[in-house]
Symmetry: C2
Subunit: 307 residues, 2 copies
């Protein structure tokens, strides 16, 4: 199937690609895989039960990428998909997921992406997921990603989860189980505006000795938007965990941040930091004295904060 | 009524007094006021409905103290009391509360102290509450303090809430409403050991412009004890709030810390820090190299941490 102009535009936003990328790729559009190809190191096949994907990254491969973006352009379309990603032992790979919705209708468009990720012994994964919505109509753009990730002994993973503009409603769920000497880093960036709602629930269980986890969340709430951020970190062994959430609140927005530290082992070290506040006045004045308008200065500060 | 040796011993632990102090005082023993006297600036009377106290601190007075300790010595006694404290406009006073339980029986002894505190315009209150249990039997010592505090415009209050050894079960509830330019500081110190359970719930609502709140919690969980710390900070105006909880976990103890920051105004600045971990190894080694045994070194570090 050919990609039209709109498809190309959305794919650029959510996956940073111009047209169809080389290597392993699966592009899902309005509930169907319109483009799929495996590579020598990465096999993409259909999930036998749920109609989603199984992405298998071969043990020991290095520096390979797989793109699995999803686009929704059919008005009022609802898509639910189950994908499984298996990163083989000692492999090193990057998964670029993400979802973009274009909706000009009056009905809600919605994508529920249910991901299971297994990072085998000694493997390293980088996982990038961007969410984006466009279209000026009343029809909502809803994105509910759900991710369960398991890290085996000595594995490591970095998840970068970003919500750019245009998503009216999101309920993000991330659950992680961390084995011995395994380490996980989650970076979350979220921007809400208008009347948008965003909820993020992160639950991390550090089960193995010398396991570690780090959550870095930054968000901006503009206009009358609402954000709820929950992150729970459970240490069941000698481990290290840190959660950091910083939020900028503007206009009539409301933000709730509810982290939880749960130490179930005397050798668990868990820490947390959070701050909610407005843009620093001095920063604004400095940029405006350099010739920027107030609006430009605010945008510059927010871009820096969410980068 | 005369104080016996045991009464004197418990009063010293929970209120730092030797016998009956001068000034305004109410000593409650096993459900009854055994000693009561008002002072020129502080009037103590019976609560018309609930049989507890009404403590009225006159407007404008300076540097006055009132002692209202509670002791339970009757085996398996259950005591519930409602007290109201009113700090008059521009007054400056210290309230020393606290409860000690001696229980050598096989039945549970329990005190539920329900306190309402109103700090009027421009007044300043220091409130100290210590909890302590003793007795080697199976009978539990249970203390459930519940405090609602309201700070009017320009008022300030510092609450120091300490649980020393010996309390088997506690569920502490503190709710605060903070007015314009008013400021509240809560200092909590908690030690649990054996099979003890401790839960602390703090809910703070900063309602007035330029209001501020600060919660500093430090706790130590030893043996197989359990602690749950919840602190929720809601900013409804241009305000500043900070919650800090540090905990030392030892042996087979378990600790949960669940703070919540809720910003409902774009000019609310709310921050939080938490850390759960064990005693730093270097600190221990340093003290032991100075001649302390391991046990003495641990005690020295814990005393410093909870001071």
């Amino acid at each position: 199937m050919e990609l039209n102009k709109l498809d190309v535009e959305i794919l650029k936003e959510v996956a940073g690609i111009e047209g169809v990328p080389s290597g392993a790729v699966n592009i899902r559009k309005d509930g169907e895989a319109i483009i799929r190809s495996s590579s020598s190191g990465i096999k993409i096949s259909s999930h036998p039960e749920h109609g989603g994907l199984i992405v298998e990254i071969k043990p020991g491969i290095r520096n390979e990428k797989v793109h699995v973006p999803v686009i929704l352009t059919k008005p009022g379309f609802r898509d639910k998909v189950y994908n499984t990603f298996i990163v083989g032992e000692e492999a090193e790979a990057t998964i670029i997921a993400g979802c973009g919705i274009h909706n000009e209708s009056h009905s809600e468009s919605r994508h529920d992406g249910i991901h299971e990720i297994i990072v085998k012994k000694g493997a390293h994964l980088k996982y990038v997921e961007k969410h984006y919505g466009q279209g000026k109509s009343q029809g909502k753009k809803v994105l509910n990603p759900s991710t369960v990730i398991r890290l085996e002994a000595g594995a490591s993973a970095e998840l970068e989860m970003v919500q750019i503009r245009g998503v009216d409603d999101t309920c993000r769920t991330t659950v992680a189980y961390i084995g011995e000497r395994a380490s996980l880093k989650i970076i979350e960036r979220l921007l809400t505006h208008g009347e948008q709602n965003a909820e993020s629930n992160i639950d991390i269980y550090i089960e193995g000795s010398k396991g570690s986890a780090q959550v870095l969340s930054r968000s901006v709430a503009q206009d009358s938007s609402r954000q709820l951020f929950k992150a729970s970190l459970t240490g069941k062994a000698a481990c290290f965990g840190h959660v950091e959430c910083d939020a900028i609140i503007m206009d009539n927005a409301k933000i709730k941040a509810i982290p939880a530290l749960i130490a179930e082992d005397a050798d668990a070290v868990l820490t947390h930091e959070a701050a909610i506040g407005k843009i620093a006045g001095e920063q604004l004045i400095k940029l405006m004295s350099l010739g920027l308008t107030e609006k430009e200065a605010i945008e510059t500060i927010l871009n820096g904060f969410l980068r």
